[in-house]
């Protein structure tokens, strides 16, 4: 009551609105209630949809991780298979004719032994398991037969692939084992006819070797081979410091990369050429690509399924929201219209004794807006709470903070007053346009 003597505080639009609300609580409460239901329906639905989005994203991340792990496993399996299939690349002197190589089974031109180290130390990652060889078909005078004499040392460590190496730079599982000093490994076509067994001693052009291993029949040129340490081969063949090929394993991840190795080797060894047993490489790349494509297809299918579900939910939510909004709008419209009708005489007299049209409009729009603001606040709170509680069950991935986003709350806070004002506009205009004389002159 301290306001009593303050000028201008006694009669105001706000005071009229407030007192009328208190006087006619039912209309106000049901109006607010209908708007609260609409607003909380909207906010709740948005939160549920967002929770759904987060859950779906989570699902996808897991699926993707799973598939990636499977891909890696597949990749590893193929790497091992490829390794077991042997070398797929042969680096030769640039001048080497391939047709002659095919005819003779070995190269007739040479590389320096140092060249293999240049590649090993170049940092190239596309090649692995480098094996320098010196190979020539010779007549074995002691036994009176032709053999493929192959001088090898162990695989040269490629330092850019440390995972394949032991602490002392040896390959953990080389494709071709080294031949120990003074020993020789024999192909089956050599060992069986000569009846040579591990531990037996023989000579090649006067050089003495002990049989280290006898390989079982492979059905390739290897069956005719005698493997001895590289330096021995160099001296027997009189090619000191020379090799005539570098065998290697190319790791190709896609068919597009075919040919890349050739370019990279060219950069390190301009005088070399690369001969790829490309069908092997292509097969591997192909398998890899097929797996990647399958992976992609699985994800796509899952994504499409989720999108369909999502659209379904969104349709449902929008139907619900539209129903609630329509219901609330109709109710507010009826409520305000009824209020205007009930207060016909009041409006008439207010207009007759001092209220302008604008003030009458303000009274009814103000009442609508007030319902909207109150309902917006309550509706956002109840909607957010319901949404979080509902979607929270079984979802442990996310805090409540990220489910309730500012845009949804702001929209909710604006939605209710906007709805109330829109629905209340027509009845309010009708009220403002009532002719006081009509009402007062009425009998």
């Amino acid at each position: 009551m301290s306001l009593i003597n303050k000028p201008g505080k006694r009669i105001s639009i706000w005071m009229i609105i407030k007192n009328e609300l208190v006087y006619k609580k039912f209309g106000f409460i049901t109006g607010v209630l209908s708007l609260v239901i609409a607003t909380s329906g909207f906010v709740g639905a948005m939160i549920l949809l967002r929770g759904d989005t987060l859950a779906t994203e989570q699902l996808f991340m897991e699926k993707e991780r799973e598939l990636r792990a499977e891909m890696l496993q597949l990749e590893d399996d193929y790497r091992i298979i490829m390794r077991n299939m042997g070398y797929n690349v042969l680096i030769l002197n640039e001048t080497q004719s391939i047709s002659e190589l095919e005819k003779e089974g070995y190269a007739s031109t040479y590389l320096d032994y140092e060249d293999v180290w240049k590649i090993a130390e170049s940092g190239m990652t596309t090649l692995n398991h480098l094996l320098p060889v010196l190979q020539e078909k010779i007549y074995w005078p002691e036994k009176g037969m032709e053999i493929l004499l192959s001088g090898i040392r162990g695989q040269v460590p490629v330092y850019s692939k440390p995972a394949h190496l032991t602490d002392d730079d040896q390959y953990r599982s080389p494709i071709m084992e080294r031949v120990p000093e003074g020993k020789a490994d024999l192909g089956s076509e050599v060992a069986v006819p000569l009846n040579l067994r591990p531990g037996d001693i023989f000579t090649i052009r006067g050089e003495e070797f002990e049989v280290n291993r006898v390989y079982s029949r492979r059905g390739t040129r290897d069956d005719l081979s005698v493997w001895i340490p590289l330096d021995k081969a160099q001296s027997i063949l009189n090619r000191p410091g020379k090799i005539n090929g570098i065998l290697a394993l190319e790791c190709v991840c896609s068919t597009e990369e075919l040919g890349q190795v050739a370019r990279e080797v060219k950069e390190v060894l301009p005088h070399a050429q690369v001969f790829e047993f490309s069908s092997l490489i292509a097969a591997r790349a192909d398998v890899r690509q097929r797996a990647a494509k399958l992976h992609e297809e699985i994800l796509q299918a899952e994504m499409a399924h989720q999108m369909e579900l999502r659209r379904e939910k969104e349709r449902l939510a929008s139907v619900l929201i539209i129903l609630l909004i329509t219901g609330a709008s109709v109710w507010i419209f009826v409520l305000i219209l009824n209020n205007v009708r009930e207060r016909k005489h009041e409006i008439g007299i207010l207009r007759a004794i001092g209220f302008s049209r604008l003030k009458v409009l303000q009274i009814f729009l103000g009442k609508s807006a007030l319902m909207g603001v109150v309902a917006g606040i309550i509706g956002c709170m109840t909607g957010a709470l319901a949404g979080v509680l509902w979607s929270g069950t079984g979802l442990s991935f996310s805090g409540q903070g990220s489910l309730v986003t500012p845009p949804v709350i702001i929209t909710g806070l604006i939605l209710a007053p906007l709805l109330a004002l829109t629905a209340g506009l027509l009845p309010s205009v009708l009220a403002a346009n009532q002719d006081p004389a009509d009402i007062i002159g009425e009998r």
């Binding site: 006619k24 005489h345 007299i349 004794i353």
Partner: protein, 229 residues
């Protein structure tokens, strides 16, 4: 002259050809301190005359001068303003606003005023006091008797110090005692220099008026000037 009415006509068109001549050529002048009563049978056009005179309804013909202003030659907004500052209304149905108290009801006509001061509120209290309603000042209209309600309506009509008071059957809902009281206050307003147009079909009330006009079918059919004095 506070109020000058000249050749007023108002015909209501109800049906296609039906026409009600509610006011059919009426002229009247009311000066300061004058109380004019208009009586006549129900439906003779009294309320219509009052609404037009008070600036609430456009006539079909004629003019209404409120002081110097020709009411229906000025814009509706200016007319509204003239009405609020220069005119007070009292009706048979008191038309009080039910959800605000007596003081606030009396102050309603001040809402549109540019200058609202503590003195306006003091005037409202004084009026309420004068009409013997001080102990009811915080009450809502629903808690008052009909006589008290009409006194509140009268206080509301007088809050802006109007020059003309229009009263349409102000005693129609009151018993004899309360009718007397309200009429006494209305006479008082005239005695203080106000102009009053009092509409009634109660001939007894006419005795209190300086001039009493009888109306029939929208026309003045009889005139008793100063029947008392």
């Amino acid at each position: 002259m506070e109020l000058r009415i000249n050749g007023l006509k108002k015909y209501y068109r109800t049906g296609k050809e039906k026409e009600v001549k509610a006011v059919d050529g009426v002229s009247l002048e009311i000066g300061k301190g004058e109380l004019v009563s208009v009586n006549g049978p129900s439906g003779c056009g009294k309320t219509t005359l009052l609404l037009i005179s008070g600036g609430l309804m456009n006539p079909d013909h004629g003019e209404v001068f409120l002081g110097e202003k020709n009411l229906y030659r000025i814009s509706p907004d200016v007319r509204d303003r003239e009405r609020v500052t220069k005119v007070g209304f009292v009706f048979q149905q008191f038309y009080l606003v039910p959800y605000i108290n007596i003081l606030e009801n009396v102050l309603i006509p001040t809402i549109g005023l540019n200058s609202y001061s503590a003195s306006v509120e003091q005037r409202a209290r004084d009026l309420i006091d004068h009409f013997n309603l001080s102990d009811r000042i915080d009450h809502k209209p629903g808690e008052l008797s009909t006589g008290e309600r009409q006194r509140v309506a009268l206080a509301r009509a007088l809050i802006n110090r109007p020059s003309v008071l229009f009263a349409d059957e102000p005693t129609g809902n009151l018993d004899d005692y309360n009718a007397e009281v309200v009429l006494k206050y209305i006479s008082e307003f005239a005695a203080d220099g106000g102009a009053v147009l009092l509409v009634t079909h109660d001939k007894r009330i006419s005795r209190q008026a300086h001039r009493s006009v009888r109306m029939k079918d929208g026309r003045f059919v009889g005139d008793d000037t100063n029947p008392v004095k």
